[in-house]
């Protein structure tokens, strides 16, 4: 039990709790405040336990991208640099998955149609 009398939540469960609220959560180093992702029980580098959580504004930039060609159709895979300073692997969902370009601005959206919610990204057309 933690201080509130609830069973302890794993980093993965905490992340999914945020996803279920439509939030892309990440953590910060307890000393430097540097953002990191994926969720961990210990901060990388400093070794601090229970690194604090934060919620992203959901805006980012395509760091790299590829279009996966399969018999069942094409889909995008991309690395997104969020404005808060962390990177995640995800997908830009667009009718033209081969037209996604490095440097494009994107906004997160939670998909809830799977076993667990997960973040994907939409292209921002106004250059926000």
């Amino acid at each position: 039990m933690d201080e509130s009398g609830q069973p302890p939540r794993s980093p993965r469960q905490r992340f999914l709790d945020h996803c279920a609220r439509g939030e892309l959560a990440f953590q910060r180093d307890p000393e430097s405040g540097a953002a990191f992702f994926y969720p961990r029980a210990v901060a990388p580098g400093s070794g601090g336990e229970s690194p604090p959580w934060d919620v992203s504004a959901g805006l980012g930039t395509v760091y790299s991208t590829t279009c996966i060609r399969t018999r069942g159709g094409d889909h995008n895979v991309a690395l997104i640099d969020l404005d808060e300073g962390f990177r995640i692997l995800s997908r830009v969902e667009t009718p033209a998955p081969d037209a996604v370009r490095i440097g494009q601005r994107v906004r997160v959206r939670m998909r809830t149609d799977g076993d667990e919610p997960y973040p994907v990204f939409d292209l921002l057309e106004d250059g926000a």
Partner: protein, 384 residues
């Protein structure tokens, strides 16, 4: 400290088996055991002499145990370090330490795979990553495609320059008996091939074959009286960077900068001294990144560097002289073959593809998604 180990150990035996395909129903241990027995025989030793066993695999959970049981080995030292396809060069580093410390006297490094005859495509016992699973990555190719895309974006590298790597590899394979792919291949063929993950097409990607490979090492004082010329370990270096592609700090810079510097420092050599290179070419972007990160050209210039036939037969810098993973063989983890081909070149037994007067060779392999990097610099007796 590591400089004191320079030249202290030599490769005295190499062996391969099962390229490009093993008989139906074969196991990965069949391939590994055949290669291991051939390497031990090549060294003029017997299986009873082997007291150090190093192995890794994608299909085998406990490869050193499987191989030792199969061949009746009872090693007093074993190491199944798994850092991806370059694990065998990492094993070379670990064998160097174990041999120097007297923890073993005859070290066998081995790999075996039935990826092709097993019919299951890219098999691995790697655990799923919950932060990647929803995005349907088809094996490692998505990660390497994003490295290529980033290199093209940052430095203007072109699909034609990537294709030049595959074309050079094929030209070498055409000189290599037993290579899996020996038909003619031009730039236009690579560009027109089926797309897999933009900007990579199927000819930018390594083959899927079966195969086993093995090398045998002993301390230098036991290397002189072997049947084949000893090939000495002049330098070796490892580096660990990340596990997931999302954690690679910059997709156009690999940790080969660190593994290479460690190997060159130990060897007391630099890129200008190297006569022949084996750079694990799981995808065409890989040799371009390694030529940059190992110091053979400046960062960003790898595309133009490979574009004019420089790394092909007859070029100034011979790279992947057996045809590499793109055209010779790729049984899942190719790193062991970078050592074997380096040894063959330095022994002068490479036939039509022999690089004249090769005295110093470099073998380099990544693991995972450029996650680990391992570099070895080998040399003839004259180079020690």
């Amino acid at each position: 400290m590591s400089a004191a180990l320079r030249g202290s150990v030599a490769v005295v035996g190499v062996g391969e088996a099962g390229i490009p395909v093993m008989p139906d129903g074969s196991t990965p241990v069949d391939a590994m055991a055949l290669a291991a027995a051939r390497a031990v025989a090549d060294a003029g030793l017997t299986l009873r002499d082997v007291d150090g066993v190093f192995a890794a695999g994608l299909q085998l959970f406990m490869p050193t145990l499987s191989l030792s049981e199969y061949l009746g080995l009872t090693p007093r030292y074993s190491d199944s370090t798994q850092v991806g396809g370059g694990a065998f060069i990492a094993h070379l580093n670990h064998a160097l330490g174990a041999l120097a410390a007297g923890l073993c006297d005859v070290a066998l490094i081995a790999y075996g795979s039935t990826q092709r005859s097993g019919g299951a495509g890219f098999v691995t016992h790697s655990e799923p990553n919950p932060y990647e699973r929803p995005y349907r990555l088809p094996g490692p190719v998505a990660a390497y495609a994003m490295m290529a895309a980033r290199h093209m974006h940052r430095f203007g590298t072109t699909p034609e320059q990537l294709a030049a790597v595959a074309v050079a590899a094929r030209a070498w394979a055409r000189l290599t008996p037993g290579a899996a792919e020996r038909g003619p291949l031009g730039i236009a063929d690579v560009l027109a091939a089926r797309r897999v993950a933009d900007p990579l097409g199927v000819r930018d990607c390594c083959l899927v074959t079966d195969g086993g490979g093995a090398v045998v090492l002993v301390r230098a004082d036991r290397a002189h009286d072997r049947p084949r010329p000893p090939v000495y370990v002049l330098g070796v270096g490892e580096a660990v960077s990340h596990r997931s592609i999302a954690q690679m700090p910059e997709l156009t810079v690999t940790a080969a900068t660190r593994s290479g510097e460690r190997a060159f420092t130990m060897a007391g050599l630099g890129p200008v001294d190297v006569d022949v290179l084996q750079l694990y070419d799981a995808f065409t972007i890989n040799p371009i990144l390694f030529l940059e990160d190992l110091g053979f050209c400046r960062k960003g210039e790898g595309g133009p560097f490979v574009a004019d036939g420089r790394i092909a037969p007859g070029g100034a810098l011979p790279v992947n002289t057996n045809g590499g993973g793109l055209s010779y063989a790729h049984p899942g983890m190719y790193g062991i073959f970078t050592i074997i081909e380096t040894v063959r070149q330095l022994r002068g037994e490479a036939g039509e593809r022999q690089v004249p007067n090769a005295e110093i060779g470099l073998a380099h392999a990544p693991g995972g998604f450029m996650s680990s990097q391992s570099t070895a610099i080998l040399g003839t007796a004259a180079a020690v």
